[in-house]
């Protein structure tokens, strides 16, 4: 493909008109006529949209046990394969529980497929977004960590409040 370059006049070839145009935009923003779009971040916080997808967490059921039945649908659907589950057998009515449940937050892309696919609403993408760490190994969240994050408010919209650690039967 041959690129067609516009024919510039002598005045345009001095570059002054382009520079002046650019400077005009810059000066227009100096008096802060428009509302600012940035925030003074750590002090000022952004009000999150209702369906914001932050870090995934595991939810605790009303019986005080994790809701997850280790069906591994989230592990199957997870596009970057961040979720790893080792299933085990339990005496509870649900028969199957996750012996290990890890999410590698270094891999998670916050797509929310795990939440969508879960048949028992056991995994939920919460509003947490400050997840950086100095050590990659600490980015692999264990089951206990994920459950602890899940017990903190806010709770699943439209669902009753899950039991907190203190209410545990």
């Amino acid at each position: 493909m041959k690129l067609q370059r516009p024919k510039l006049t002598w005045w345009e070839r001095t570059y002054f008109p382009a520079i002046l145009q650019g400077l005009a935009i810059t000066f227009r923003h100096i008096p802060r006529i428009k509302k600012r779009v940035t925030l003074e971040y750590p002090e000022v916080r952004w009000e999150l949209p209702k369906k914001y997808r932050g870090a995934p967490v595991l939810l605790t059921g009303l019986d005080g046990h994790e809701k997850c039945t280790s069906c591994k649908l989230c592990q199957f659907i997870c596009p970057p394969r961040a979720i790893n589950i080792v299933a085990g057998e339990t005496d509870l009515a649900k028969e199957k529980f996750p012996r290990e449940f890890t999410i590698d937050m270094g891999l998670c892309i916050f797509c929310g497929y795990c939440q969508e696919v879960c048949p028992v609403e056991a995994i939920w993408l919460k509003d947490e977004y400050e997840l950086a760490d100095y050590d990659r190994t600490r980015l692999i969240y264990t089951k206990e960590e994920l459950l602890a994050r899940g017990r903190k408010p806010p709770y699943l919209p439209g669902k009753e409040k899950p039991l907190t650690e203190g209410d545990k039967p």
Partner: protein
Amino acid sequence: MPLLKIDDQEIEVKAGETVLSAALRCGIAIPYYCYHPALSIAGQCRMCLVEVKGAPKPLTACSTAVTSLPPDKKMDGKYDMVVSTKSEIARKAQRSVLEFLLLNHPLDCPICDQAGECQLQEYSYTYGNSSSRFDFEKIHGPKRVEIGAHVVYDSERCIKCTRCIRFCEEITKTGELTLVERGAHARVDTFPGRKLDNPYSVCTVDICPVGALTSKEFRFKERVWFLQSANSVCPECSRGCSVRYDTYKGDVLRLVPRENPEVNGFWMCDYGRLLSERIKELPRRDRPGIRTEKGWTFYTFEAFWPIFMEKLKKEDLSSPAAIVSGRMTLEEMAAYKLLAGKALGGAAGVALNVASGQDDSLLIRRERRPNLYGARMMGIGVSEENPDVAALLKNKRSALIIREDVVKDAAESQKAALVKALQGLGLLIVADDAFTATAELAHVYIPLTAWHEMEGTTVNFKGHLQKTARAVMPPRNRKPFHDAVSAWLAAAGGQAPEAGFAAWFAEVKKAVPELADKSLRDLLPRGIKLKEAAP
């Protein structure tokens, strides 16, 4: 020959053949649960209902036989039976039967091990309704019943097809299972005081079309869609059942029989199946090693051979006692023959015939080694049953033991003498896939790939040749014995076929004339029967 018409297809059938078997033969889809080609016909599940022209109601395809009509009564002038599997009546029957089967089904697919290979899932997707019209509390029954040492039963998932009951009655002829209670409360149970404990009990799990029977060993291990499968052969007796290894992340999780009418039919024994559990317990060493007074030193595969050659210069390996094994594939045996001719002074080698238990009427064989027929074919002598290995070592200064744990397999009375004989050797080389009790006594240990970690060919006691497959990638320093021989002969400065299954299979082809015009493709998936009788 009666002429049958199913949908638009005309099929010539034998008089008395059922509609379902004719349909299966021609690839016409009729859903079924209780029918199994190896079992009697029960007509229990009603899933295979089809519309038969002239019949007042839908009939079960599995139990409706086709017979000849008199010439003047043929339908449409030539057919003896006209069947429709897609008509409105047939479709309605299929949909309704499936609705009944799912009425009290717990729908716990997320925790059910059968999910992914469940006929209920498949048929309700193809033939069923998308939602249930049942608004009441479902009937609950016993769950997690251990009806056998390896089998767990869930009555809520069960559709009462009675395949497992018929299997125990007709195949193993032990008859442990029966159907108790009536109607929707019916469930499979053992007779009081009895357990499902025949040596083929886990086959009931295979033939269970739903998740009612699950294997205790595989229970909750992994969802089936994560499994990677390899079609291979069971190494646990000379039957050599065709099996499928299901693995996940390098672990063998279960062995499942493959259909092979000439070898194992549809079945395999529990002992062979539990190989997946025994594999985990074997002590593995992933690098070749040499033992001196200071203890073991292990090397990488490449670094090992020059050091081993140095050691051989000091030792006498001219006429060693060579104990080979029926656990070796034909390729490894060919490699042994070559090695014996070039480096072992033509030591003939004896394949140990390890035997225990009794032959049974179904599959289990007394000979515990899969490839003894192959050893005879390759010109390797086979010992008498459970020989005294110490006698084989008599007057020998060195020995090479391949894929046999002679110390473990020795009778208790002979064990001490055998250990003493092994310790008295000047040079003991052990090549095995596990670091066994025998390997601990060795001076040189060469790690080999296990049966499920390599490709090979094996011949069962009837002369049926099958190909094994690599289910799991072995660690990089563990090689098949034929690759070790390639490296050995190369290090010794001789000519050797290059490493790898293909090159050594070519060697086997030279030794077995019947294989000359066969390619690997001909051996898959069920193997071929060799005409030549064992010498």
